[in-house]
Each structure stands twice: as structure tokens, then as C-alpha cells.
């Protein structure tokens, strides 16, 4: 690839910024949540601490959270674009960000238990590519922490224990159950990504891709927008609150998407992303030059 250096440097900047600078929509979400909690409550104090943390990370150019998570890259490239070269430039950028302390050494060999010094290994980082009929490259990055990844859940409907049938009421019950079982353990207040349908693998893919949506958007499918609204209200009523220590703001948002399914399966998949919602994106030229930020 020509301009390898420029690609590496743009992608490095994307990683750095994702690690240290919480997106504006999420920060505003935290602020809004803060106002809804009672003065001198634990919940309010926690949200204030999180907001203070956001500012400090930005000022000090240091990671928002010490768990810099797993890195998921979503690329949209022009037709016929050389994605192999993009992978190698991204890997170089990840290794440099690790060397400079924007990423923790966070990649472990699952068989030997050995830590990887660069965060570049089989399956790390993760890539998705899509070809689009336009002349620029869009890249979006999620850095997803382990604590919140561990509280994700997948349901197969019907689910007798929840009284959940194969309809949207069943989906509502699954999501409520996921919020209750997660409590604060995914570093609440988090954001839920939900996928209705798909298979066991694509269900999680689709639920995670919901995190690319802006916090204040609404599903373009009216009925799903209504379900998102209702579930967010119900999550407040559960009184789980930030860090599960009580209050309203167990969640900042719920994003629901759907995929087709086979007649025999009906999965509902819930991914949880913590308050340290590291998601950034940029539009780049085909030479890797920076055009503009997406978030």
C-alpha cells in the first residue's frame, strides 16, 4: 500500500483519541443522568466522579479506564480497496499505541496464558469490512472492556423461566432479565445493544454494532423505538443505579436492532457496554489522510 505511514498515523490517532476522550454524546448522557439523581446520594456522587474522570483523562492524555478492552474496527471502504494493507497498517498502529501506554497489554494467549506485548495476535484486534460505493474510507473503533463483556447474555425463545414467548413482549422480558442479572457489574451506567434474531454468532455481532449508533438517536423502526423507550424507563424503575449501588441510572441507553432468523430459532442477544464507552470514528481519504471525525 502506498502511504503506509499516513495510514498508520491516522489510525494511531483514532486509537489514542478513543482511549482518552469519551465521545460527547455519552458525556452528555452522564450529565443528564447526574441531574436525575438525588443530591447527596451515592448515585450522584458516582456520576460526578465519572465525569471528573472523563475530564482528567482528556487533560492528562491518559486512558479513561485501565482496562483498555478488546479493539473492534469497522471499516467501510471503496469497491476494490486493498483491505490487507489496511489490516497491516492497523496492527502497526495498535502496537505503537500499546508501546506508548494508550493501550494496556491486554491480550492473553488462551492456551499458554502468556501475555502479548503488542496487542496484535490471532483475533486481536477484530476487523469488519464492508464495500461501499463512495470514494472515502470510514473507520469506526470500539474498545470494549472485559468487565462489561462478561455480563452480556443470549436467550433462546421461548424461555419458560421468564415467561418469554416468541414476540416483542418476550424480547422485553429478556432485556429486563439481562439488566437485572448485570446489576452494576458491567460498570453501570452502561448502554445495552440488543439484537432480535440472527444466529448465535451474528446475534452478538449485531448487538455490538448497535453501539455505533449515537446515544440520542432513535431506531428508525417505530415499534423498536417504542420498545427502547419503554425499556429505558423500566430500567430506571429497577433502582439498580450507577455501579449497582442504588439510584435511577442503571443505563444511559438501549439500542435495539434485528436480523432475520430461521423458523426454528429465535434468539435475543444482549451486549453491555460500560460507561467508559470508548467509541470513535473518522472519515479518511483513500490515502489515509484525515477528513473528519464521525463522533
Amino acid at each position: 500500500m502506498k502511504n503506509h505511514v499516513q495510514w498508520e498515523s491516522s489510525l494511531f490517532e483514532l486509537i489514542r483519541r478513543t482511549s482518552v476522550d469519551l465521545p460527547c454524546d455519552i458525556e452528555q448522557g452522564l450529565r443528564r443522568a447526574c441531574k436525575t439523581e438525588k443530591k447527596a446520594s451515592r448515585a450522584r456522587w458516582i456520576l460526578e466522579t465519572l465525569l471528573e474522570n472523563v475530564q482528567k483523562a482528556r487533560d492528562k492524555d491518559a486512558p479513561l479506564c485501565q482496562d483498555t478492552g478488546s479493539l473492534i474496527f469497522y471499516f467501510q471502504v471503496p469497491v476494490g480497496f486493498d483491505t490487507n494493507a489496511l489490516v497491516s497498517a492497523t496492527r502497526l498502529a495498535v502496537a505503537r499505541a500499546t508501546r506508548l501506554g494508550y493501550l494496556r497489554q491486554n491480550t492473553i494467549d488462551s492456551v499458554s496464558g502468556a501475555a502479548c506485548a503488542t496487542n496484535v495476535a490471532y483475533g486481536a484486534p477484530t476487523f469488519y469490512f464492508e464495500q461501499c460505493a463512495r470514494g472515502t474510507v470510514d473507520v469506526r473503533l470500539l474498545m470494549k472492556g472485559g468487565g462489561c463483556e462478561n455480563v452480556g447474555k443470549q436467550y433462546s425463545l421461548p424461555d419458560e423461566s421468564l415467561g418469554a414467548g416468541r414476540d416483542l413482549e418476550g424480547v422485553r422480558r429478556c432485556v429486563l432479565d439481562a439488566v437485572i442479572s448485570a446489576q452494576g457489574n458491567g460498570c453501570a451506567p452502561g448502554i445495552l445493544g440488543v439484537c432480535i434474531g440472527g444466529d448465535r454468532a451474528t446475534g452478538y455481532e449485531c448487538s455490538k454494532s448497535q453501539f455505533l449508533r449515537k446515544l440520542d438517536d432513535k431506531s428508525s423502526v417505530k415499534i423498536l423505538a417504542r420498545l427502547e423507550d419503554r425499556l429505558l424507563k423500566e430500567s430506571k424503575a429497577l433502582e439498580i443505579g450507577p455501579m449497582g449501588l442504588g439510584g435511577n441510572a442503571a443505563l444511559l441507553g438501549i439500542k435495539i436492532g434485528s436480523m432475520s432468523r430461521v423458523p426454528a430459532s429465535f434468539f435475543v442477544t444482549v451486549s453491555y457496554m460500560c460507561w467508559a464507552f470508548r467509541r470513535r470514528g473518522a472519515v479518511l481519504t483513500v490515502r489515509g489522510g484525515f477528513k473528519k471525525w464521525l463522533y
Binding site: 456522587w45 486512558p63 413482549e169 457489574n185 423500566e234
Partner: protein, 201 residues
């Protein structure tokens, strides 16, 4: 900052200091604490000797990011890590070493409640992910043990804290704030699910 009234806790953490804390209270911790993660817990559980006296001490579930600056260690990021992984080891460690404070994050179960009650110990919940705010509460790094054996993230760092904020999640009577909140939410959830108002398109 909202006006939550803090209780102050200072090393060494005596029975009187800790015994008067109640689940739900806001505390500011000062003085020495020792970081410990999975490897150290397993090591102590299997009878390994501690290089320091842990009587009336605090274990902090944390894998800090620490860098060397000239001859000093500087903490770059230091938030709590999930504590439930250490639950099986805690009763024995609290009993054998006289540990009086555990600092970490996330729900803990009956085993920790029992261990706190038996050992006059408390479990303090720090703000998960607040790595920068909490790193600033570390005024100095006083020592490092097991760095070579377990790696820097899993090592035992001796940290001096000043006004490190946390919430008492389990007190020395075994009262568990997070359990209370969870069971309340289960009750509310059951009602929401039974509701006469199912979601119909």
C-alpha cells in the same frame, strides 16, 4: 461534589474503626494498602508466605498501570478490578493474615459476607473504571513484591493513599448492600414482567 458525609479510615485499620462502619456508608481511605489480584490470592490461599505483615491491612483488587520515572514508580491508572473472582480465596486469606479491609468492585456473595463477619472485615466498593480520579489518590508507591514472579499487573504494590473514596458494600456484620439492591430489583422486575401491560405492537 455532592455532600455525602464521609467516614475516614486510616491504616492500620483497627477493629474499632472497621467495626463501626455500616453498609452504604461513604468512606475515604488513607494510608498503606496492598494491591492483590488473582495470582497473589491463589498464592496465599495455597499457603504462600506474605512478604509483609497483613494484620489490620487492606488488600486492593487492582492491576495498576505503573511506569518508572527516574528512580521512582509513578501510577498512571489505578481503578478497581472485579472482586468476585477472588471470593473463593478470601475466607482463608482474611483468617490466616488478619486482613481487615478489601477494596474492589462488583457484587460479592455469601462466602465474602461470612468471611467479613468472621474476621471483622469490610468490603469497600470503589468506582469502577475511574482510573484517573483514583490514580490521583495514590500519593506514593512504597514498594513492590512479586514483580518478577507474577508480572507488574499481578504484583503486590504497596501504595500510600490519601482520601481514596469508596462505599461500604459489606460491613463487618455481614450486611451486603449490593445483595439488598439486587433482591429489591428482582422483586420490581417480577412485577414489571407480570404487568397487565404487555408490549404489543
Amino acid at each position: 461534589m455532592a455532600l455525602l458525609k464521609p467516614r475516614r479510615l486510616e491504616y492500620p485499620f483497627t477493629q474499632e474503626q472497621v467495626g463501626s462502619l455500616r453498609a452504604g456508608q461513604f468512606v475515604l481511605v488513607s494510608g498503606l494498602v496492598y494491591t492483590a489480584r488473582d495470582r497473589i490470592h491463589k498464592f496465599f490461599f495455597e499457603g504462600g508466605k506474605s512478604p509483609v505483615d497483613l494484620k489490620n491491612a487492606a488488600l486492593y483488587h487492582c492491576g495498576p498501570v505503573v511506569i518508572r520515572k527516574d528512580s521512582d514508580w509513578v501510577v498512571r491508572a489505578a481503578g478497581p478490578t472485579t472482586s468476585i473472582r477472588e471470593e473463593p480465596y478470601l475466607p482463608r486469606i482474611i483468617k490466616d493474615h488478619g486482613v481487615r479491609v478489601i477494596i474492589g468492585k462488583g457484587s460479592m456473595g455469601k462466602v465474602t459476607e461470612g468471611a467479613c463477619k468472621a474476621g471483622g472485615c469490610v468490603y469497600l466498593h470503589a468506582v469502577g473504571g475511574a482510573a484517573q480520579v483514583l490514580a490521583e489518590k495514590v500519593v506514593s508507591v512504597k514498594g513492590l513484591y512479586f514483580g518478577e514472579e507474577f508480572g507488574l499487573a499481578e504484583a503486590m504494590w504497596v501504595l500510600e493513599l490519601k482520601d481514596f473514596p469508596a462505599i461500604v458494600a459489606i460491613d463487618s456484620k455481614g450486611h451486603n448492600l449490593l445483595r439488598r439492591i439486587k433482591s429489591a430489583s428482582l422483586g420490581i422486575g417480577r412485577k414489571l414482567m407480570k404487568s397487565s401491560d404487555p408490549f404489543i405492537p
